[in-house]
Structure formats: structure tokens, C-alpha cells
């Protein structure tokens, strides 16, 4: 593989990793607080749809983003009520949210835009465009390292930079602040938190809010930054991959980033390897390459991290009365 190819793979890696990372961190907050969330997928899809819908109609990307955040947030709240207040089964809540998202987005899209659930392509100003970092052009001239800056680091939409900024922030919040301390405690031993005089469910709701917002960013990225407009079920299972990444990272911020970069890289690779003759094996069937990310995920989960024990109180609604 030549250098330019590698460059373009790396750039694609960042683009693919971004929604994963945002969703993964989203999951980190609620799961560290003891609320399992299979519904990342659904929240992203809702966000993607409403972001695109509003951006398409108003032609204003910021309004679009706002709508996306709102949609994801309110979905998260529904999930929160089910999982925290009503003490329902958290996994079911997630599954239901995902199904609802697929159905409702297409349904609304169809009845609003009559394009089979798609939104129209976004007009000028409806979409977050790539940002050129300073001197990208100039530095780009430098052989080898230049392209790394100009084509890999530079030239992404704001979401990409936000996602990676969110990692140190999350680590800081999680390990250095009162909120983080209580968050981790509530996911490990809510009773201890309760006896320390802290409201357990309130803490969990706070976590779920953060989750909602991050999922909102992730979803909006799909439809008003990376793409231009919403396509049915356009998150295509990325929420589940993000979940895998979270488990893979043992629910920790920096590891989460690396996991997402890895999965993003696998996707980028998948795309570059299609139709390329492999060194030894020669032409590989395209399906084998398309399945590659999933196969490798399985292998990694099985091979490297072994038993991943999540937050102890994960998935269990908190009740005083036993």
C-alpha cells in the first residue's frame, strides 16, 4: 500500500470513528452510572433524522443540530423513565427504542417529505462543512508528514474534533470531579451512594442526559455533516458497534477512544480493500471483506479482553425495598 492510500485510509478512519466515539462515550456515561443502553443506535437514528429534517427545511445547520440533540435527549428521557423510575428491563427498553426509531423516522420522513423516508438533500448552509486547519495548504507541501496534517488531521467537520476533545474531558470528569466520582459510585454500589446521602436516581438521570446529548451529536454527524440528508436506517448498526467498543474498552475513556479508532480503521480498510488483490490470497470475495470488521470484532472480544466485567450495578434498577 502506498503512502497516499494510507493517508486516505487514515482520514476515512477518523470519519468512521467519530460517530462511534461519540456514541461510545455516550454509552460510557449511562453504563458507568449503572444504566445499560442498547438504545444508542435508536437515539442516533432519531437525532440523524430530526437534524436532517430541520436542516433541510430551515437551511440552517445549527437549528438542525439543535433538533437532533433535542430528539436524542427526549428519547433518552423516555428510556430513563422506563429504566430508572419504572424500573423496567433496560435491555428491552433499548431494543424497543431501536425498533421505534427505524419505524418512526421512516414513517415521519415519508409523510413529511414523500421520499420514502429520506429527507431532501440539504440546501446551502444546512450542512456542517469540513474545516481547514491553519496553513493546511502550506504544510501539505512537506513530503510525507505534510499530508498527515493537511489530509488526515485537517479537513474534517467540527464533530470530528468535538468527538476527540470529548475523550480527555470525559476522563477528567470521570476521575477528577464530584460528578464523576458519584457517577462511578452509583454504577458500582448505589446503596453506598444512597447511604452517603446522594439521590441515586437523580444521578442516573443526569448520566442519561449526557448520554442523550452525545448520541445527538453522533446522529447529527451522520445526516448533516458526513452525509447531506437522512437515509432510512442510515446508522446501519453503528450503535451496536459502539457498544462493542465500550465493552472492549472496559468502560474507560482513553481505551474507548482507541477501540473506536480501531473499529473505524477496520471500516476504512474494508472499503479500501474491496476489489484489491490481496498479496498472498489474491482476489478475496467482496463479502469476506465486508464481513471483516464484524469477524475481527468477534475475534478481538474473544481473544484479547476476555471477560469484561462492567459496572457491578449495571442493568439493575435501584430499589430500597428488596
Amino acid at each position: 500500500m502506498d503512502w497516499p492510500t494510507i493517508i486516505s485510509i487514515l482520514a476515512a478512519t477518523l470519519r468512521f470513528a467519530t460517530p462511534l466515539l461519540l456514541a461510545c462515550l455516550a454509552g460510557l456515561y449511562s453504563e458507568r452510572a449503572g444504566v445499560f443502553d442498547i438504545g444508542l443506535e435508536g437515539k442516533m437514528l432519531f437525532a440523524a433524522f430530526f437534524a436532517a429534517a430541520v436542516a433541510a427545511v430551515t437551511g440552517n445547520m445549527w437549528l438542525g443540530l439543535l433538533a437532533g440533540l433535542g430528539a436524542s435527549l427526549s428519547t433518552a428521557m423516555v428510556q430513563g423513565v422506563a429504566a430508572i423510575t419504572l424500573k423496567g428491563n433496560q435491555i428491552i427498553a433499548g431494543v424497543a427504542i431501536n425498533m421505534l426509531a427505524v419505524g418512526l423516522t421512516t414513517f415521519l420522513g415519508q409523510s413529511w417529505f414523500r421520499q420514502g423516508g429520506r429527507t431532501p438533500p440539504l440546501p446551502q448552509g444546512g450542512r456542517f462543512l469540513p474545516i481547514q486547519l491553519p496553513f493546511a495548504a502550506e504544510i501539505g507541501q512537506i513530503p510525507y508528514i505534510g499530508p498527515l496534517y493537511a489530509n488526515v488531521l485537517s479537513g474534517h467537520s467540527i464533530f470530528v474534533y468535538l468527538a476527540f476533545l470529548a475523550v480527555p474531558i470525559t476522563a477528567y470528569v470521570l476521575y477528577r470531579t464530584r460528578f464523576g466520582l458519584r457517577l462511578r459510585a452509583v454504577g458500582e454500589n448505589p446503596k453506598a451512594v444512597d447511604t452517603a446521602g446522594i439521590a441515586v436516581n437523580l444521578m442516573r438521570y443526569k448520566a442519561v442526559v449526557v448520554t442523550g446529548l452525545l448520541c445527538g451529536l453522533a446522529g447529527a454527524y451522520f445526516s448533516i455533516a458526513q452525509g447531506s440528508g437522512f437515509g432510512n436506517n442510515m446508522t446501519a448498526g453503528k450503535g451496536y458497534i459502539a457498544l462493542a467498543a465500550l465493552i472492549f474498552a472496559k468502560w474507560k475513556p482513553y481505551p474507548a477512544m482507541f477501540a473506536c479508532l480501531l473499529f473505524g480503521f477496520l471500516d476504512a480498510l474494508q472499503i479500501r480493500l474491496q476489489g484489491v488483490a490481496m498479496p498472498v490470497i489474491g482476489q478475496v470475495p467482496v463479502q469476506a471483506i465486508q464481513a471483516l470488521p464484524y469477524v475481527l470484532t468477534v475475534i478481538l472480544l474473544a481473544g484479547f479482553i476476555g471477560k469484561a466485567v462492567g459496572p457491578k450495578a449495571g442493568g439493575v434498577p435501584y430499589t430500597k425495598e428488596r
Partner: protein, 305 residues
């Protein structure tokens, strides 16, 4: 009145089914007549939907896609006095008209046009799913490219393996971008809804895409080199116009019948020089005249290049 049954993917798939819908709508506008239509959501509904149409007295009934192989023959026998039209597949029954298109020749022309437009010798193709029909597109396209540049390279890509593949602009876009990064300047999308991602990518990277099925030049004027039109709309419209006593049998719509072709309108005219068009028209004539034979993947599931 006539009836129309869309296939999986739905009325508004921005390509195949939507073309049929446009045809029906045009007929409606022209004649002021009415028609029944239905979107199936899973295979089990085919027979059900078709019988429903019959029982509601629809005639003729147009069904889309190659998935009717097992259902249609049976029902055709059951209802000898109803006329059926199946598009994209061949059913030999006295009361069935089978309409198939020479996607390969149409694709050949856009391939040639791509090769004439771009000198890089690298060309992209993004298919929805790795299925025979899409291979037919690819194979014709590649032949067209190579007719102009024998040494050219064509990157063959597919969006996915689940039904999402026809609706995943994100991945399709990335596939196109990959092709552009590898030096291609033109990417032909035969991927239903995913194709929009390719066109978007062309716009973002200031390169060219080639649309499919219906004329997609307008989606991003100046970035869609042309569209490989497959006039499903025409097929549907004529079927509706012919009415209950349409003559049945096999109908192959090729270049001669304008069943397939490349679209030129003021959205893309500026991208094409007269020489290019002349050159392509020449190929077209030769193919019609039989001086050039474009291999059809479907005949032997092979693509000799």
C-alpha cells in the same frame, strides 16, 4: 384500471421503483385515469398483493423485479383473462408481457463517456449489493470504459450485504471517495438510494458521478456526468396505455427502443464536448447495428474483460 406493485425498497427508492411510479403518474396526468398501487414489505406479500389487485379488478397489472419467478406463473394460469406485465424478468405465459432491459448496453455507453471525459485511466463503480443484475451493470460499464481505454482500471465496489445496502449513502459515499482518492474522476453508482451518497461525494470532492435508472443529473448539477437511464417509466406508461388488451410476450428494451440510454440535459450539457457525444453516439449506432456486441452477464454469469 391498471395496477402496479412496487418491489422491496418501496415507491420512493430514487431509482427502479420510483421510475415505475413516475411512469404511472405520467400516464395518470395524461389520461386522467386512476390506478391501484401497493408496496410490498416482505416476500410473503407478493402473492397476496397480486391476488388483492386481481380481486379489485385491476387489469393490466404491472409487477416489478426479478423476484416474481415463482408466484406469477401460477397466478397467470389461474387468471387467464387478466393481463400481467413483469419488469426485469421473463415469465413465459400467454397472458404475461415480460419486459427486460439491456442494462449492459446502456452501461457500456456511460462507461465509454466516463473514459472519454477522464484521462486518468481509473474509473469507479459502486453497486448496491453483489447481485446478478448489478453485475450486469458493472460488466457493461467496464466494457464501455475499456472500449475507449483498453488499459483502464475499473474499481468494483459494493455497499453492503443487508437490505440496508440499497439505502446506505454513508458507505456508498466513502466507497466513492476511496475511488477518487485512488485516482478515479468518475464513479458510476448502481445502488438505488445509496447512489445519493456517491453523488454527494462527487460534489464534496469536486469530481463526477454517474446516476442510474432515472435521470439524476439534476440532483447535483455539474457533478453528475450523466445518468444511465433505464426507462422503466416508459415501460410502465406504455403498459398502462395499452390497457387490458396489450399484446403479451417478451419485450427487450435496448438502445434502439430507447429503453436504456445516457441522459443529456442542461444540467450536464456543459460537462460534455460535442466530440464526446459524437463518439458515444457512434458506439450506440454500432451496438444497434450489431457491429459491437456488448457481453451480457446474465447469459452466463461471466464477465470477460
Amino acid at each position: 384500471d391498471p395496477g402496479l406493485i412496487y418491489d422491496l425498497g418501496g415507491k420512493f427508492d430514487k431509482s427502479f421503483n420510483e421510475a415505475a411510479y413516475n411512469g404511472a403518474e405520467r400516464w395518470k396526468a395524461a389520461t386522467g385515469g386512476n390506478y391501484l398501487d401497493f408496496e410490498i414489505t416482505d416476500g410473503a406479500q407478493r402473492e397476496q398483493a397480486l391476488r388483492r389487485m386481481v380481486s379489485q379488478g385491476a387489469n393490466p397489472i404491472v409487477v416489478m423485479s426479478f423476484n416474481w419467478g415463482s408466484v406469477l406463473p401460477v397466478l397467470a394460469d389461474e387468471y387467464p383473462d387478466v393481463k400481467f406485465v413483469v419488469i426485469d424478468s421473463v415469465v413465459e405465459k400467454p397472458n404475461v408481457r415480460s419486459v427486460v432491459f439491456d442494462e449492459h448496453t446502456g452501461s457500456f455507453l456511460v462507461g465509454a463517456l466516463a473514459a472519454l471525459k477522464s484521462e486518468t485511466g481509473k474509473y469507479g463503480f459502486v453497486g448496491g449489493m453483489d447481485v446478478p443484475l448489478i453485475h450486469k451493470f458493472y460488466c457493461g460499464y467496464a466494457q464501455g470504459v475499456k472500449a475507449v481505454r483498453a488499459d483502464a482500471e475499473v474499481y468494483e465496489n459494493y455497499t453492503g450485504t443487508t437490505p440496508d445496502a440499497w439505502n446506505n449513502p454513508t458507505v456508498a459515499g466513502e466507497l466513492a471517495k476511496a475511488a477518487y482518492d485512488r485516482g478515479a474522476e468518475v464513479v458510476f453508482a448502481a445502488a438505488g438510494g445509496s447512489g445519493l451518497g456517491v453523488i454527494q461525494a462527487a460534489q464534496d470532492n469536486n469530481k463526477f458521478a454517474i446516476g442510474v435508472d432515472s435521470n439524476q443529473n439534476h440532483i447535483a448539477p455539474g457533478f453528475v456526468l450523466t445518468s444511465m437511464e433505464k426507462r422503466v417509466d416508459v415501460a410502465v406508461e406504455t403498459a398502462f396505455t395499452d390497457g387490458p388488451d396489450l399484446e403479451t410476450g417478451l419485450q427487450v428494451l435496448g438502445l434502439a427502443e430507447n429503453g436504456v440510454g445516457y441522459s443529456v440535459d442542461d444540467n450536464n450539457r456543459s460537462l460534455l464536448t460535442d466530440e464526446m457525444i459524437a463518439q458515444v453516439e457512434d458506439y450506440k449506432a454500432k451496438i444497434i447495428a450489431g457491429e459491437i456486441t456488448v457481453h451480457n452477464y446474465e447469459t452466463d454469469s461471466q464477465c470477460p474483460l
